[in-house]
Symmetry: D2
Subunit: 295 residues, 4 copies
């Protein structure tokens, strides 16, 4: 995007300008940018981000806890009150955490309280890498951590949060990999070639239902023209692809039963690696199919 700062510009600023340019990426912690300023020039945006994280990882436990504690509760009072850093507001809103029902809000309040009481700092997680259901799963899993592992987990999450913020603020060589990709491919092994014009729907699957994220048709190579998901982290969570195979085979005019063996083929799968490439193909006949995590 044209309104991002170039890495060259950033490398050339004086320390105050550098700190100001990165304001808000690390919440309430201008000392982070100040500490990294002297390491300039950076050859890549990846190197810049690593240099920003370095003073945090090197800090005393007390400083680390204070740093984490400057973050707002997830879906907490600050979120309700509008009293949160602008970046956090947008990130939490992206997951609908600003529109929780009272019951959901109460569940977060309980988890937040349990977490603070156990660890002494607020729960921090990079919500842009998780579905809403996964946020709760991760929350509960991390409540079982021992305190040292959990402090490291919180700092790692801050690494993820700030990396995403940084790539929206700065452009230049060596951008960090922050985007994942989901793709598919439909092979018709009844005819021995790619299956064209198969309608595919992608859903996010949550405890309270599923939400459609994308719809596409396969092309002459049995693929979709664009990946089903790309350009951003894949949210850790549960998904379902639905391949409308019955419609497809009807167009091939085969002699199939009125009630075909395969109509809509759902493939439910989990994503665990937000920056990964998930290729989930379907190898299909009117009477069989196979799928796998491909590459």
């Amino acid at each position: 995007m044209s309104d991002r700062l170039s890495l060259d510009t950033l490398n050339a600023l004086d320390e105050a300008g550098f700190v100001a340019a990165l304001d808000g990426i690390f919440e309430h912690a201008p000392w982070v940018a100040a500490a990294a300023s002297g390491e300039r020039p950076f050859a890549s945006v990846t190197a810049l981000h690593e240099a920003l994280m370095a003073p945090i990882w090197a800090a005393s436990r007390e400083t680390q806890v204070a740093f984490v504690s400057a973050h707002p509760d997830l879906a907490g009072k600050a979120a309700r009150a509008g009293d949160m850093a602008p970046a956090s507001v947008a990130e939490q809103a992206g997951l609908g955490l600003d529109r929780l029902s009272d019951a959901e809000y109460a569940r977060f309040e309980t988890l937040n309280a349990a977490y603070r009481s156990r660890f002494g700092f607020p729960f921090v997680v990079c919500v842009r890498r998780l579905t809403r259901d996964a946020v709760l799963d991760v929350f509960e899993r991390r409540l079982g951590h021992d305190p040292e592992a959990e402090l490291a987990a919180a700092l790692t999450e801050i690494g993820h949060i700030t990396r995403l913020r940084l790539v929206e603020r700065v452009e230049g060589p060596g951008m960090p990999a922050v985007a994942g990709r989901l793709s598919t491919h439909v092979l018709d092994t009844h005819k021995g070639g790619p299956a064209q014009h198969v309608r595919i729907e992608l859903f996010e699957v949550g405890a309270s239902g599923r939400a459609r994220l994308a719809e596409a048709l396969t092309n002459a190579d049995g693929r979709t023209d664009a990946p089903l998901l790309s350009g951003a982290p894949l949210r850790v969570g549960s998904y379902e692809l639905v391949f409308h195979i019955g419609e497809y085979f009807r167009t091939r005019a085969l002699a199939l039963p009125d009630q075909p063996f395969l109509g809509q083929v759902p493939v439910r799968f989990g994503i665990d690696d937000p920056e990964g490439h998930y290729h989930v193909p379907l190898v299909v006949t009117p009477w069989s199919y196979a799928t796998y995590r491909g590459s």
Copy 2:
């Protein structure tokens, strides 16, 4: 069942007794049994049923239409009014056709009227061989038939209805095959053997949701101790098996992601042959699976 009549007994009755013994199987048509009576003795229950159908198939079109017309509308006024042969009552109730919402009732009324107006006789279908959604699919498909094909379709359905009634009334050698079977098998090709203790759920899938029909655990051979469905016709319709593979692989203590690639594996399939054997196995690893109509 011990209260069924034996074929030998039936063979030995006088004609009036034979006709009385089969009363209600062919609705309002004692002439059917009377016509078959002289063909006795029958060597098998299958032969008995074929002999009962023979005079119907041999009758004039006028007689056939009158015969079909003696059947009640499906889910129609007679059903609401309780004015229907007892066998029909039970069969329609088995599909919940006696508990339709007003909207559903109205839809059946519309279809019944269109059908009668097109063909001159009521829509007859063997509801014990269909799910509720399939009844509507078949109804609409048959509305597109030409009249001769449709009369034959109606008589064929009466064959199915009466065959099922007959096997509940008479026992003896050569019982007609009226039951289908659904079975499964889970192979774990990660370890190279059957997958034991996999929880499996079976659902009927309808336009308005899915209803659970069965739940089972796989045994040491990766099969369920009993078929998932058996002992009756499989209702033509859409089904879903859900294999709880995530739970299973967790018990194998493999190094898998917190958000596993495969958790619940749904396999949605159609049944078109009520007396058929559907074997729907799952060949699975934590990263792949295949299924097919087996045998």
Copy 3:
């Protein structure tokens, strides 16, 4: 077989008769049967065999070594000279070890010498559970054992040898499982059912070529009428099934290329468990296939 002794008879003999009845099963070791005699009556042939092995496992190392040393070299001078117990003669002949070329004989001589020099007793293996190639593989693998593991391996093999001899001498309840089974199944997922009339060949694959062991046609259920191998231990080794799928699909009169994608489908696999059940199905279309170790 009618000329086997019944377990009841064996249970009723006096000790001398019992020892005489089992003569030759444990080579040059009447003390084994004598030691087990007092444990009678045995409820099963399996229990009898375990009771015969028990004094061997309980003996001192010196006695065990002497016991093993009473066995002839594999394919050694005794075999060439005809100076071997009759049971050993037949067993080694079954693998063609009595018809070795001079080069093969020399290789066995070298291995036998190396083995004796390392362990102080001859190499013993149950040749009826191995292909000829597997004998050499096992020989070389066992040369790498440490002495205690190897003595146990030799006794375990004597257990296998004598179990097979025992089931040919004695019949009664609780026969030990000494037979494996190889079966197959061909599913045509192009048409959605079993593939009938598929010709299948089974080969043993060795370093010097492959030898055909069996040929069969699939029946209406896509299976062979009898297992491809059964009734004896499966020889550990390498095998190949060849499914003549091109011929099969030609009979289905599909529109396939002159040079079909699939003609003969070879499936090469290893057998490691002589008493196991190996089910090796083929799920096939003209353009794809899958196979796996099933159950």
Copy 4:
């Protein structure tokens, strides 16, 4: 190649120069180039080839037969005597047709005589698009043609032959597609990712044995760095890929039997489309595999 003529140059020559430049592509038929000369300029090499074939397809049957008759017998006396157009010499030599045993030579002589006697012209086939075994298959299949279909088949083959000669003589925009491609991909669904460092061998399979064409290792994406075959027509015929999966899984240090279920996995397949893309992947665990014609 730099020594090819450019299409521009060819378009600019006078007719005599144009005919001379294409000499030998159409055997003993300068009239072909002369007839096409007036159609210049050609926008693509594909259009040039089509324009050269057009007068042949438009000619009288008598001219067509004379044109075909100017070609030498396949592997015939002319080949033995060195009395053949240079292009034909090289093409037939590429298949070893100049090094036939006496028995093979006799078989070709018999086929050539039968063919000439039936059709009145020599058998012409584009040998660069066939394996040696496939040449004989095609020869026998075409002997069954009716005369009109066979004359068209001969002209179609001359189209293939001359297209290949043309792309070696002329370069320019719109080159005809004369090359096929064979690729593979190995997915390890035991670990859920590409299988790296799998050794793969490719063989041509003939009646008298198999000949190794290529060997490759899979890279980090489970693919070979270059296609297994490319840059030329794929010869119609039978092939075998051998995937050394046993070696691969040994490097993963899994707990597998001494005699693994899968060691060398052969995948035998036919190629029917010389200019096609054959993608033949392997989806594999230590206990299962699947393959299919992919894309």
